[in-house]
């Protein structure tokens, strides 16, 4: 694959490339301006305390607008991988099959895998770079908003900052690409990808939670940090060592529903993942999502090799 063929791949998807790259650049630029203004203008001090800082500067419309812009930027980050993945991945094969251009390319080149790589790799690289740019910008924004939090040891904004945004974008792109190769039509591909991504998000969350519960530590109200640790579940811990959910406890220890005198007969605990494990958990999740993306890409490649063009 040459630079020229990569550029051609972008030009074939000129519209989607422009949207994804443009949105990324706009997001990074606006965030950089907001962060620069925030830091240089001395607005950072407004967020160093837990309670609102009542200085004129912190109460000014500019501080409020900057804060709103940054919060909005952070809040739309989870949508980026889905939108970028759909836009970039859906048309790679589906539109080529629909428009008949795949037939031209497949009649010119004996190796469909070579065509597939030429088309997919530049787009995947662009989506990954865009996702990483948005993810790390989101991390920088989060850092400005929470200057006292060590983001390397905190689950604040987990999956919506850093490496995972890029990997999520790659996964959605791969799903759209694979479904496009199977269905051969763009609109059904986009719809089905949305449905599948929705289902996958729920499934991954469920599996992830189950895995993490096995590794969770028990924290009391004093040791658990909402700012740093990843909250999983609340449990009740009894003097005999039982750690139960409220429903389990109500069934086995009916006395918890009766009025007690000084102290409750159990201790409220939180099952959580300590913030120190942030990068380890992030990397593990990135590898799992990346592995899934590879599976979908392989599925797409098989569909391309086996299917007949229109």
């Amino acid at each position: 694959m040459t630079i020229r063929s990569a550029l051609l791949s972008f030009r074939i998807q000129r519209f989607e490339t422009t949207i994804v790259a443009g949105a990324t650049m706009l997001s990074v630029l606006v965030s950089a301006i907001a962060i620069g203004w925030f830091t240089a203008g001395g607005y950072a001090q407004c967020f160093t305390s837990d309670s609102p800082v009542l200085t004129t500067q912190c109460q000014s419309p500019i501080a409020s607008a900057l804060s709103r812009i940054m919060r909005l930027s952070i809040s739309i980050v989870p949508l980026f991988p889905i939108v970028a993945g759909l836009l970039a991945g859906g048309p790679i094969v589906a539109r080529e099959l629909e428009a008949g251009t795949a037939r031209l390319a497949w009649s010119l080149g004996p190796s469909r895998l070579r065509w597939f790589a030429q088309r997919a790799v530049p787009i995947l690289a662009m989506v990954l770079l865009a996702g990483l740019a948005v993810g790390f910008t989101s991390g920088a924004l989060t850092h400005v908003m929470l200057p006292t939090t060590d983001l390397d040891r905190s689950f604040v904004g987990f999956r919506a900052r850093g490496l995972l945004v890029g990997v999520e974008a790659i996964l959605v792109t791969s799903i759209a690409l694979a479904l496009g190769a199977i269905l051969g039509r763009l609109v059904p591909t986009l719809i089905l990808t949305l449905v599948l991504v929705g289902g996958l998000i729920i499934a991954i969350d469920k599996v992830d939670r189950t895995l993490l519960l096995n590794e969770a530590v028990q924290s009391s109200g004093e040791t658990f940090s909402w700012e740093d640790d990843m909250y999983l579940e609340s449990r009740l811990k009894f003097p005999n060592g039982d750690v139960l959910t409220y429903e389990q406890a109500a069934a086995t220890h009916p006395e918890i529903n009766e009025p007690w005198e000084n102290e409750p007969p159990y201790q409220d605990i939180v099952l959580s993942i300590p913030g120190e494990r942030y990068h380890e958990i992030e990397l593990r999740e990135a590898l799992i999502l990346g592995g899934l993306a590879v599976v979908f890409l392989a599925g797409g490649a098989v569909a391309v090799v086996r299917r007949r063009p229109r």
Partner: protein, 303 residues
């Protein structure tokens, strides 16, 4: 003569119901420009697409330049330049980009040759494909196929959307390039006059099977047209076999007769020499009647 395209008992059925082609036995000799003619739905495109490996045979076997396109599709594609009916170019890419794209996909693709052909057809290399007319797009498709320097050229009704002048330019370029390279071409088309000028061989495909397969010179030499009154004499007079009847444009009934040779002075001749169009129409009409006759008893039995 070596055959570069072969079909032996080839059949293709879609969705387990409809046979597009069945029992096709056909060979295309090396160095020939063969016309593939047949009505809509006769399976011309299916046959061509099967030779390039885009369709899988349901029965029988195919050979493309000595390789089985089902077992070695890459090998078949590497031996073929393909021009489809509607050459779907990338709308946002310039003609020059298509040449670069083709070069990146196929080793041995001759970029200079493609550019030369395109420029010869007065198509600017910098124009976007979306701005090309149907005829220009077809010509770009042909230039790309020719520049693959493939030994076999498969053209699936590329003339369908072209005006007469564009058709002429297209055929001129194709014939010149194929002859110069010593390649083999198979051209599927409905336009008989063009075929007569460009091709040296004719294959008529009926509803899923071969009706006629011989050189154009032979097709013209061995067919005559007789009018309605002479048909009885033609059929019984021993100078030929009736192929089939069909109406002339003015409604007059005509009959195509196959004779040993119109040039053979020893053979008593009836009627006049047939045109290539009449040869094709006569065989198609005969094929249709045969199909109807075969289908009728089946339908009766089913009823």
């Amino acid at each position: 003569m070596t055959a570069v395209l072969e079909a032996h008992g080839f059949g293709k059925r879609y969705r387990r119901r409809t046979w597009a082609l069945r029992g096709v036995d056909l060979t295309v000799p090396e160095g020939s420009i063969t016309a593939l003619v047949g009505p809509n739905g006769s399976g011309k495109s299916t046959l061509i697409r099967s030779w390039i490996g885009f369709e899988r045979a349901t029965e029988g076997r195919l050979s493309t330049g000595g390789v089985d396109p089902q077992r070695d599709r890459a090998g078949a594609v590497a031996r073929v330049g393909y021009v489809p009916q509607s050459p779907s170019l990338y709308r946002d890419l310039r003609v020059r980009d298509h040449i670069d794209l083709a070069a990146s996909l196929r080793s041995g693709f001759d970029k200079a040759m493609a550019a030369r052909y395109v420029e010869r057809l007065s198509i600017p290399l910098g124009v976007r494909a979306g701005e090309l007319s149907g005829g220009e797009a077809a010509q770009v498709g042909l230039a790309l196929a020719l520049a693959t320097r493939a030994a076999i050229l498969l053209l699936d009704e590329p003339l369908a959307s072209l005006d007469p002048l564009a058709r002429r330019e297209f055929l001129h370029l194709m014939v010149e390039a194929v002859r110069a390279a010593g390649a083999t071409a198979l051209l599927s088309s409905h336009v008989i006059t063009d075929i007569e000028q460009a091709c040296d061989r004719l294959v008529v495909l009926g509803k899923g099977h071969t009706l006629l397969d011989l050189s154009i010179a032979e097709a013209l030499a061995h067919h005559r047209i007789v009018d309605g009154q002479a048909i009885q004499a033609a059929a019984t007079g021993g100078d030929g076999a009736v192929v089939g009847g069909f109406p002339a444009p003015n409604g007059e009934p005509l009959t195509l007769v196959r004779v040993p040779s119109v040039a053979d002075a020893e053979v008593p001749q009836t009627g006049r020499p047939a045109t290539l169009e009449e040869v094709v129409i006569g065989h198609l009409a005969a094929g249709r009647r045969r199909d109807a006759a075969t289908a009728a008893p089946v339908e009766e039995a089913a009823a």
